[in-house]
Amino acid sequence: MFANIARVLAQSSKKCLPLVRSKHSLPDLPYDFNALEPVISAEIMQVHHQKHHATYVNNLNVAEEKLFEAKQRGSVSDQIALTSALKFNGGGHINHSIFWTILCKDGTSEPEGELAEAIKRDFGSYQRMVDLLVATSTGIQGSGWGWLGYNKQLNRLDIVACANQDPLQATTGLHPLFGIDVWEHAYYLQYKNARPDYVKSIFKIANWRKVEELFGKARHD
């Protein structure tokens, strides 16, 4: 009898996810480290993924653990003190998780379908959208990201810059579609201070099929 009770309890506890706090994990790259050469070197991809992104994941887990403990202790002040760590590391995890998927070996053909229509409508042409995203990303002072995003309320594409690891959607409300990491770690080993060269080249490895998918989800979900 007790064995039966134990088994029922074990089975039902699996459905109660909050009993076990899940941790974030580093997503695998959808390709080998050298897949994005010559635009982004294998060395950069390896350090960027295995060190920088991994550190955001680890630190996010630490911050969330501390947040849980602070909540359990009933300390609002301690929860608030963790805001920066959550934004830095949570943002870093969100941003990089998107970044790996919107790049691919040799890139794809230019945007098609609904996304192509939206780009034409909101920027005039694909090239003008690219020019604006290049200028925005290149012009970021210090560390940050340039984003092509979707404003669902206005049904409009927009291009904005975010500082540091500020995540696009939480900061601006825009749905992230295509982002360019312009932290120096994203390009320095290969491009040194020539950020414009890196930013312009990244369009050679853009995975517009993925971006179309993200756009579709943002529009219709």
Binding site: K51, G142, N193
Partner: protein, 210 residues
């Protein structure tokens, strides 16, 4: 009279192995040079200290590039090859550090912490506040503690550390902690003491090109 890139007081390789030759070269001839060029394009004013102190009156291009020019001009002087300077602060500054932080090591710990916890690009600083007391802080991007209304802690910087990734990435990659630890080996304490004695302790910002 436009701003000029100051020459490095030493060759690019002399801070090895702590700061590598290629970084020093790029940092000076590309990054700092770009700040100088952009600053000249952004303002006709020529008193960089006054610009920093009144930064709210200037457009963002002046804040970024004026800060960059001031900060880097001193940065080259805050470093020196091993053996060419005392390995620790001396005189009144040493006493002041001990009185404020307990010891030089404690000051270095706090400074290191400020450098480590500055997320993204920026600088860590040791400086003298209006009331003469020492403080440690960090700023984002190319801001510096002279920038009234911008810096959290307004003070006259006498020592600063660049923690933009370009300052350490070629050699250290993401290992900023290791870069900071190694950088202490090349701090030019004699120059820092001079800046305290001759300028900051008299409530004057350290001029560049001196």
């Amino acid at each position: 009279m436009s701003f000029q890139l100051p020459p490095l007081p030493y060759d690019y390789q002399v801070l090895e192995p702590f700061v590598d030759k290629e970084t020093m070269n790029l940092h000076h001839t590309k990054h700092h040079q770009t700040y100088v060029n952009n600053l000249n394009g952004a303002t006709k004013d020529s008193d960089i200290v006054a610009i920093c102190q009144n930064i709210k009156n200037y457009p963002v291009a002046v804040r970024n590039n004026g800060g960059g020019h001031y900060n880097h001009s001193l940065f080259w002087k805050w470093m020196a090859p091993v053996g060419s300077s005392n390995v620790a602060p001396t005189g009144t500054l040493k006493e002041k550090i001990e009185a404020t932080f307990g010891s030089v090591d404690e000051m270095k710990k706090k400074f290191t912490d400020a450098a480590l916890t500055r997320f993204g690009s920026g600088w860590a600083w040791l400086g003298v506040q209006k009331d003469g007391s020492l403080a440690i802080s960090s700023t984002a991007n190319q801001d510096n503690p002279l920038m009234a209304g911008v810096a959290d802690v307004e003070m006259i910087p006498i020592l600063g550390l660049d923690v933009w990734e370009h300052a350490y990435y070629l050699k250290y990659q993401n290992r900023r902690a290791e870069y900071i630890q190694q950088w202490w080996n090349v701090v030019n304490w004699d120059e820092v003491v001079k800046y305290y004695d001759n300028f900051a302790s008299k409530n004057n910002p350290v001029p560049i090109n001196q």
